[in-house]
Symmetry: C2
Subunit: 143 residues, 2 copies
DNA sequence: TGTATATAATACTTATAGGTATCATTTATG
DNA sequence: CATAAATGATACCTATAAGTATTATATACA
């Protein structure tokens, strides 16, 4: 139901960066805004770089930036990088494979829930996240 | 999205036991039907006993049985025992508390998903699981 | 009343996600 | 070309879920 901590972190990071689509962010700058454990944040940033929506520049004056407009980066894109197993169509009861032709009563219901979540994540871009005012103060204090 | 292994185990166990509501099952019998690691199964059985839907009888000729009809045991009842945190209304981004008055665009959508899942689990009883034929063969071979 | 058969309780081990520490590499710039 | 400032790679540590092992307790019944 809920996401892993790492997934939550990734969503927060990407949302922050989407506020300035072209800016090159250093890890230090991101850390100032979102208090994710510093070294873990660094590791996660390089991990996010192994995607088609984030790129890095090495060396002095380096950093990270989005590689396409935030309106073209969905939450699903992000989830696929940090937790690709999240939406895999697993059996409600956790079985690896269903041996029966007739599906049990939970099968279609759970498939429906998964499709619902999938649609929400696929239809929400980073741009959609900051249309309703500035949430920065909120995001600075994750407690 | 998906459940913990332990939750899946609990669902399988409860569904099996609901097929014979009054029967006293030994761990050995359950193990024969559902190949959950034996000692872990034993631990989980006693854990399930700390609920209002499962009771145990100690000593020789002892075992476990449901303490009320399977039609009155919902998947939500089971989930509450084995993973009470699963449905807690956490923030989409994993924040502990929301500092803002205006909610972000994900707030209502995620609340909706959670309500949907809650309704499915609360409205499905163990009796509902075995109306559409016998799934025993399937459940015996979780692979 | 002793023994076999069942669950209860507790402690230990292992697998994995989350987090930390260190060193290597890249590159702007004096 | 040396240095500083940034990311990259790797190894290690820690907290939690999953799984194992051992001992204690309850009870039917010969
Ligand atoms: S029919 Fe039911 S038990 Fe079988 S794979 Fe689908 S959800 Fe799982
Ligand atoms: S408004 Fe958005 S960020 Fe704030 S608690 Fe709700 S889901 Fe989380």
């Amino acid at each position: 139901m809920n996401f892993s901590k790492t997934t939550d972190y990734a969503f927060r990071i990407m949302r922050l960066m989407s506020q300035d689509e072209l800016k090159l962010f250093t890890v230090e700058e991101i850390y100032q805004q979102i208090r994710i454990p510093y070294r873990y944040l660094r590791k996660l940033m390089t991990h996010l770089t192994r995607s088609d929506f984030m790129e890095s520049v090495q060396g002095k004056k380096g950093g990270f930036r989005l590689s396409r407009p935030s309106s073209q980066i969905t939450l699903l894109d992000i989830l696929k990088v940090v937790d690709p197993e999240y939406l895999t169509g697993r059996c409600f009861f956790g079985f690896e494979n269903c041996a029966l032709d007739t599906v049990c009563i939970m099968h279609d219901q759970w498939t429906g829930v998964r499709a619902n979540v999938h649609a929400i994540l696929a239809n929400t871009s980073l741009a959609d996240l900051h249309v309703s005012g500035d949430l920065n103060e909120h995001f600075k204090q994750p407690k």
